[in-house]
Amino acid sequence: MTADIAAILAIDGIATGAVYALVAIGTVLIFTVTRVIFIPFGDIAAFTALTLAALDAKQLPGTVGLVVVLACMACLMEVVSLARAGELRAVPKAILGYLVLPLIVVGIVWLTMRFNPPMPVRIVLALLLIMPISPLLDRIVFRPIADASVLLLLTVSVALHFALVGLGLLFFGPEGVRTEPLTSMALEIAGVHVSGQTILILTAALVFSGLLLLFFDFTLLGKALRATAFNRTGARLMGIRPARAGTIAYLLGSLMAGVSGILIAPVNTIFYDSGFLLGLKAFVGAIVGGMTSYPGAALGAFGVGILESFASFQSSTLKDVIVFSLLIPILLWRSLASHHSEEEVEE
């Protein structure tokens, strides 16, 4: 391997790593606030790509159907549980939040599509359409078992991923898509060719993680999310509802996953089931950060990206094996390095 090739591989790896980093940060966000390891996160990214492709082709994306079905289910569940608790006064608000709001998003997409919107608008529409999915899934699947152990939540999360892949096939069909390139610009940095797409990916990763940081540091809502992650009981005593905090975490996480889906769509062909590997590799990155540290997760994700890039040069068939084998030493190191007692883990 020459220095030139190494540089190209490194840049490629950093770009891939930036995409993983977005998903990894979202994974950590959702895990710390809700204790759910949200495996279907990669699927959300893939669905965003498929949504954007459908919008590019001037078709109504399958996401519309998915959102409508999920919104009806979530709304029904919420209304039934409110009725059982005898709190009928809260029903209109529940219908507004779980049914009307998602339907408004669908309506906006449906209306805007008729005017052949330009690329940036289509990207915004795809993101808008994808954002309600995980909060709705949260209401349908995770809210009823919110107090369960992390292990049970993870098991359900894995099952949910398989259900979503099935739904993906139903709503998007089996065809793979590749969206229009976002930019055709290219740069020469120190004799190495860097594509505009790479620069865009890096910029987007930096901008969105920066925005998340600002949100956490400077808004009360952001602080409330961090507070819920640190100390659930303490947060409740401040009047912060964990379910509400969870919804916001899912919305923000979906945005991160959606952005990553849009960034990879022009460079990789995306199928309804392409999200799994993306989500899993981001998960490996998040584990490097102990599932709780944002910088740790981002660093881990970049590490995974670079390793994958070099591994695929050495042996493209074994690249996933190499990446996932990385988990073993990391888990060993983490379990030796951490000093958590049994009681702390229980919390």
Binding site: L220, A224, R226, R236, M238, G239, I240
Partner: protein, 237 residues
């Protein structure tokens, strides 16, 4: 005087074991009421039920509203705030952020700046450490922060669980002075304490809880001179 908070025949059970049995008590507007009793009497359990973290039977009325269907967050929004025994601070966040989170339950946050200044006036130590992580504070400072954070929520009734637990005598005095000064703010206080003498010196009215039941109650003035109580909790004199 109008009634702020009343508990009527409340029982709390952990499985089949009843930790609190048929307890009734009430707090009037602007009053400091204390519940004293030994370790394991069910004091903390009673407070956890009052804030809604534990399920209970019986009735609880806060400012004329039945609390049965109101969750913890709803109670906090109505001005019923608990400072728990464990403080439940956000250890990794700064002192200032902990205080700001106290305002989360308020609809109108236009007074946040002023509330923050008030808390810093009350506890100058917190101002010095405003940017420090809450987890690095000493025990006394943590209790001040927990109190200050609760005050940021502009509570109508402040429920304090063992505020003097594990603190040095000098700090205990400071904390009780602060509690007494809440009267002038119009905040009612329900204070649970093992330090019976300090609690009764501060309070207007007192209840004695033993093995889950109220065995005695009366004005704090009377209780503090009760020979039986002196023998049991007040250590002679």
């Amino acid at each position: 005087m109008t009634q702020m908070f009343s508990i009527e025949n409340v029982s709390v059970a952990y499985g089949k074991v009843e930790a609190v049995r048929n307890v009734s008590l009430s707090v009037e507007q602007g009053q400091i009421v204390t519940v004293i009793g030994p370790n394991g009497a069910g004091k903390t359990t009673l407070l956890m039920a009052a804030i809604g973290l534990l399920k209970s039977t019986g009735r609880m009325i806060f400012q004329g509203t039945d609390l049965a269907k109101i969750d913890v967050e709803g109670r906090v929004e109505r001005g019923l705030c608990l400072v728990p025994e464990k403080r439940e601070l956000f250890a990794d966040m700064s002192v200032a952020d902990n205080l700001l989170l106290g305002t989360y339950s308020l609809r109108d946050r236009s007074m946040t700046r002023k509330s923050l200044d008030d808390v810093f006036d009350r506890f100058p130590r917190l101002k010095e450490r405003a940017k420090q992580a809450a987890g690095t504070l000493s025990g006394g400072e943590r209790q001040m922060l927990a109190l200050g954070r609760a005050l940021m929520a502009k509570p109508k009734l402040l429920v304090l669980d063992e505020p003097s637990l594990g603190l040095a005598p000098l700090i205990v005095r400071e904390i009780f002075r602060t509690i007494a000064s809440l009267r002038s703010l119009g905040v009612s206080v329900l204070l649970v304490e093992q330090n019976a003498r300090a609690a009764l010196e501060t309070a207007d009215y007192g209840y004695v809880l033993e093995t889950g039941e109220i065995i005695q109650s009366g004005p704090a003035e009377t209780l503090i001179h009760d020979p039986k109580l002196i023998a049991a909790y007040l250590g002679g004199h």
